[in-house]
């Protein structure tokens, strides 16, 4: 898979204007052509598997979203066009959930970026016990989300938990603002190590010589960080942000365990689950899934096209 991505992205980069002057648009030689054909053949099985396991369910959900299809009323199943989309997009529960999801996404990703960067620097610069430090930092990410969410829930429940008694005199998980804060805290605690891991990979790309040169030129630590490290790390940062934003937008397990969506803390994924699994309404539920898919696609598009996020491997040749 990784080879395949690399091949494809180099292929794309060949068309980037800056490089075109060097390589031109010369017709491909026989050798190149057969190489390309082999490339297609080699990735065909993977592509077919991808089609079977992702394209089919996606197309099927789109098809379901265009029907009135409720398992409780099997005889009423019929094609309704875009009616379900109108229903969902004019519904206040949907927009409340959308707002909650957007808030959680923006806040957690921003906080994770800052904390993750700090953690990455620590992990990168540690001289003694590097292995221990890195392992310790990664522990939260290694714990199953649902298990971690349960311990957060008990911690914040008066009677069973220490945090509830420490920070408030009520039940924080029964009020909206405090519930949302706890959900975000659990998310941040859980995924900051992942962010740090990705950023550390970016840090490893920063050449020591460059930092030394900057230092010789009199750059302060802050200047070295903002003027040298950040620009060099930009591709890694964008990839980390992209991954985390996509993940955060689909937040489900923490909310499911912590509040089950009570007090208007449902995310869009929770809402889709409630309508699909609890409500047995495949039409409305699939409509929500498709809308979530579209939102995720838009996020990915914005990152890739507007911010120029690229696959980690392909950023190398850009810089050199």
């Amino acid at each position: 898979m990784s080879e395949q991505t690399a091949t494809r992205s180099t292929g794309r980069h060949a068309a980037v204007p800056a490089q075109r002057s060097g390589r031109g648009r010369a017709p491909l030689s026989e050798n190149k052509k057969s190489e390309r054909r082999l490339g297609w053949l080699l990735c065909a099985p993977a592509a077919l598997v991808m089609l079977a396991v992702t394209a089919y369910p996606i197309i099927y959900s789109v098809w379901l979203s265009l029907q009135r299809f409720d398992l409780r009323f099997p005889d009423e199943r019929r094609f309704v066009g875009l009616e379900n989309y109108v229903t969902v997009l004019t519904n206040e529960f949907w927009w409340t959930a959308f707002g909650v999801t957007a808030l959680i996404t923006v806040v957690t990703v921003a906080v994770e970026l800052v904390l993750g960067m700090g953690l990455a620097l620590i992990m990168h610069r540690t001289l003694v016990g590097r292995g221990v430090v890195r392992t310790a930092a990664l522990i939260p990410y290694g714990i199953v989300t649902v298990v971690a969410a349960f311990s957060w829930r008990y911690a914040w429940t008066p009677g069973t938990g220490y945090l509830a008694n420490l920070f408030s005199d009520g039940a924080p998980l029964t009020e909206r603002a405090s519930s949302l804060a706890i959900i975000m805290l659990a998310e941040i605690w859980k995924t900051t190590p992942f962010m740090a891991l990705l950023l550390m990979a970016g840090l490893a790309l920063v050449p020591e010589d460059l930092l030394k040169a900057a230092s010789t030129d009199g750059a302060t630590a802050w200047q070295r960080f903002t003027k040298v490290m950040l620009p060099v790390m930009k591709p890694a940062i964008l990839v980390a942000l992209l991954f985390r934003t996509l993940d955060a937008f689909r937040v489900f397990d923490n909310i499911f365990v912590l509040t089950a969506g009570g007090n208007e803390t449902s995310s869009v994924s929770m809402l889709a689950y409630n309508n699909l699994i609890r409500g047995l309404n495949l039409g409305i539920g699939s409509t929500m899934s498709v809308l979530i898919f579209i939102a995720v696609a838009i996020i990915a598009f914005v990152f890739v096209k507007l911010f120029g996020t690229a696959a980690p491997g392909s950023s190398d040749d850009e810089r050199r």
């Binding site: 409780r72 449902s266 809402l271 609890r278």
Partner: protein
């Protein structure tokens, strides 16, 4: 390539042994799940909510079956929502590993409409209908057909303090005035019942609406009605919530907190399920001596109330491999003797009327006469496959009860219920 190959070959016998052991270990529980596990006796998988002594009933039935079938009790999760999710997920996937299902009364129509459970017909049907109370039977019907065998029912009662209130109130208005009077005298006065945004609030509202002669749905369950009676019920609910006689946590109260509050002596009245009585006798015996029970008050003092019933119906999965035996097993689990056993040992009210007359019931059920009286003219929650959605939106619209504006809330409810019936409603 040669070396590792040889190494593998040398190690192979042991690898095989391990693999075989692993296969046996994996397959053993699988075989237990399948039917016909032990020597040809078909296994009937009973999926039922946790009930402490149900295993004894299962054992009784297995002995009585004399090798025709063997019921295995598979305990569902404790929470009603989790029970339903497990059942619907597996039924939607046409899982043949489930035979007899213990369904909450409000799920029966939903499962029947989805073609997930089999109709009771012929002799089986006749046996179930024989001697069973009309209310519970109604909860097991869908479109005039019988889809479940009522195993147990349940109904709320009014619990009141004899030492504070000599005569139980006949109407909610009387109860509210009595509570206000007690409040003036500085005595315990609260009316405690469930008002949180969940099924309990829908049960309370359904009791009020049916007592006022109102109809939430049309008789065939196809349309939202919300007539005058339901508006009166909304007025009554708002009055209860705004007269200063409820507990401050009324809008967040569920069954157990209500029980605990009354048990601590704060209330003069409690509307709750019968399980509160044995609990009170254990936790606060002095108070229990002062507590009596009566039929839940009506809207009008001259019209007796109609009280919402709960309970469990036994249904046979449409994907069961042994439908005939499953019907037989279900009949055994709910027969007269076993219902009496469950009533006395697990405190679940029987659905067969005769059982209440049994002398052994007198001790376990001192309030049995009131229960039977209520069960004879019960209120049934709207019978529709969309009940789950309706209940969710109703509890959302009704909450908090103090904010109800009767006519406007009724219109809102009508609209939300109509949407739910057309699969257009979005669940929060």
């Amino acid at each position: 390539m040669n070396e590792p190959d040889e190494a593998v070959r040398r190690r192979r016998p042991r690898v095989r042994a391990v693999a075989a052991a692993a296969a046996v270990a994996l397959a053993a529980p699988l075989a237990a799940c399948g039917s016909g596990g032990d020597g040809g006796t078909p296994t009937i998988n009973l999926y039922y909510p946790p009930e402490q002594n149900l295993q004894k009933v299962v054992d009784t039935c297995n002995t009585a079956a004399g090798g025709r079938y063997k019921i295995v009790y598979r305990v569902l999760p404790r929470q009603a929502d989790d029970q339903r999710v497990q059942l619907v997920r597996r039924l939607a996937a046409e899982d043949s590993g489930m035979d007899v299902l213990g369904l909450d009364v409000t799920w029966t129509q939903e499962f029947a409409s989805a073609d997930w459970i089999l109709e009771w017909t012929g002799q089986d049907k006749a046996e179930v209908e024989q001697g069973t109370l009309a209310g519970p039977l109604e909860t097991a019907r869908y479109q005039g057909r019988l889809y479940g065998a009522p195993k147990n029912t349940n109904v709320q009662l009014l619990w009141y303090r004899k030492d504070l209130v000599p005569e139980p109130p006949k109407s909610w208005d009387q109860m509210i005035s009595a509570a206000q009077e007690l409040k003036r005298q500085g005595k315990p006065y609260q009316i405690l019942t469930m008002g949180a945004q969940y099924e309990g609030l829908v049960v309370l509202y359904n009791t009020l609406a049916e007592s006022a002669g109102g109809r939430i749905l049309s008789d065939d369950g196809g349309k939202a009605v919300m007539d005058e009676g339901t508006v009166r019920a909304l007025e009554q609910l708002r009055k209860l919530a705004t007269s200063g006689v409820t507990s401050p946590s009324f809008s967040n109260a569920t069954e157990d907190p209500v029980r605990l509050e009354f048990q601590s002596g704060a209330g003069a009245f409690q509307v709750n399920w019968p399980f509160v009585y044995p609990a009170m006798q254990e936790a606060n015996p002095d108070l229990a001596k002062q507590v009596a029970w009566a039929r839940v008050p009506g809207i009008d003092e001259n019209t007796p109330s109609k009280v919402t019933i709960g309970g469990v119906n036994l249904a046979v999965s449409a994907y069961s491999k042994h439908p005939e035996l499953s019907f037989a097993a279900a009949k055994c689990l709910r027969d007269e003797q076993n219902q009496k056993f469950s009533a006395i040992n697990d405190g679940v009210p029987p659905t067969i009327e005769k059982v209440y007359a049994d002398p052994e019931m007198a001790e376990a059920y001192p309030m049995r006469d009131t229960i039977v009286e209520e069960l004879k003219e019960p209120a049934v929650r709207p019978l529709t496959p969309a009940y789950q959605s309706i209940s969710t939106v109703m509890s959302a619209v009704l909450s908090p009860p103090s904010q109800i504006r009767p006519q406007q809330t009724a219109d809102e409810l009508r609209e939300a219920i109509a949407d739910a019936l057309e699969s257009k409603g979005v669940l929060p």
